[in-house]
Assembly symmetry: C2
Homo-oligomer: 281 residues x 2
């Protein structure tokens, strides 16, 4: 089924896509040159120039910050490690507020070293989000729980499905003010419940939408992601589900690709993103 | 929480664990030497000696065939390819009957080359199982749908969760005669619904239980699986859920490990399996 292409104004560049070649400032300038109106930085890139300076550069170029990434890894081996993760997420909320980010994404974190206690680890995530939610509400920064692909469950993200993320939202934020989800097609495309859970989330909980593609030849578990159209995900279909649920936000291109896109000239990468957003999303 | 070790009589060797060094005959003899009372062969190993000869060797050594693996990849690009997959599964049912296997595992298969139609591919799986189910019932061979880890969705298995497999069971086999699931801890350990779905399956649908471990350092998506105890899966917990649901069948060790266990002397591998079954499962 052929679907109409998305609104090109909704394209957002996640800085991970060009992280090997460009600083945040270069990415901001690149977006402006290529007619990309939004950016979604990882925190390490923000840290290099400082949040205030980053906010100014982004504002000066007329960009929206669709989301801030790189926070929320709450599990820890002991109380001290868990408190440090909470404190780090509190700083991330401040950064997101400074950047006027539409949301702060929370990647839940994996099992603490040596642990096999998956249920207990998931409780640490729930408790961690609960700790910071009021601050996020006060700062006007919605928190977006990002379910990661189950292949990251051990090391990076023990929230693995959209259903699980939405269960957390309902447990911690029944009123629906301040907590939602980030839907990354790469992480959730395989899920038999995806359409139903996107519908369940609805506009209120759908805070971000990330795109790239799953390559049929995927070899590396972290950084072998594909440009939209080069893989097996029916991105127009997934987008249509989000739109039917009321989502009107940005489409953030996040491509971790050590062997291909990270090596290319970012000018080519951004030009390709713009084209593929129209032809494959 | 410390749980009592499992009954050592329930250990079964999946031939994939020693596939690089041993033929089926060698594996059968090895099991007998090591006091392992059951075996679960992949079909390629059976094909090398023929099903009748394999059945005789297995019987002569007093082993039970807990399951037969390597069938059920139903999706295909055209009608001819799909029919070939059904015909192949029909042959596998005959082989399983000859071997008196407790079940024939069905790995659903992934997207046909170039396809992005995941829903349509899943329909091919449903229809394929529906085509062969009566033959399996007549042959007395229960079919065990094996959900694979979502990282195999594109290329190997578009049935990715236990819930999805059980939905298929209920759609195709409401009476519960002939269709169930194979639970491989490696594929499903991350699933937030695992305990609930094992309980839902119950004794009638729980046809096989496979064990190995998910290494925290996993790099290769196919053949970097761990010996029980070397990874992050709480195998005693998962086993307890199966037992609470009424499962009394075998525990099949299936370790795909190109860099480690496949290189070792199978005598050491089997000895280690026996020990770890008692200490880490």
């Amino acid at each position: 089924m052929t679907r109409p292409p998305p609104n090109p104004e909704l394209l957002s560049l996640n800085t991970a896509t060009v992280r090997e070649k460009w600083s945040l400032r270069e990415a901001v300038e690149g977006c402006a040159r290529h007619g990309i109106h939004a950016i979604s930085p990882w925190r390490d890139k923000v840290a290099q120039m400082g949040a205030k300076e980053a906010a100014k550069a982004i504002r000066d170029h007329g960009l929206t910050v669709s989301g801030l990434y790189g926070a929320g890894m709450f599990p820890g081996s002991d109380r001290k490690a868990r408190q440090a993760a909470i404190d780090d997420t509190r700083r991330a909320i401040d950064e997101a507020a400074t950047l006027e980010a539409r949301c702060l994404a929370l990647v839940a974190g994996g099992l603490p070293g040596g642990s096999k206690d998956l249920a207990g680890t998931r409780e640490m995530v729930r408790d961690g989000i609960g700790e910071v939610l009021d601050q996020a509400r006060a700062a006007g920064v919605p928190l977006a729980i990002e379910p990661l692909h189950p292949m990251y469950c051990a090391g990076r993200g023990c929230v693995d499905t959209l259903a699980q993320a939405l269960d957390l939202c309902e447990e911690l934020d029944r009123s629906g003010t301040g907590l939602g989800v980030a839907v990354d097609a790469y992480h959730v495309w395989w899920d038999p419940l995806l359409q139903a859970q996107i519908e369940r989330a609805g506009d209120r909980r759908l805070l971000a939408f990330q795109i790239c593609d799953w390559l049929a030849t995927t070899r590396d578990m972290l950084a072998d992601r594909g440009m939209m159209g080069d893989g097996v995900i029916d991105l127009p279909l997934v987008r249509s589900w989000l739109e039917e649920a009321g989502y009107r936000g940005f489409h953030e291109v996040e491509i971790l690709s050590a062997g291909n896109w990270w090596r290319r000239d970012p000018e080519e990468v951004l030009a390709t993103c713009r084209v593929r957003h129209q032809t494959a999303c």
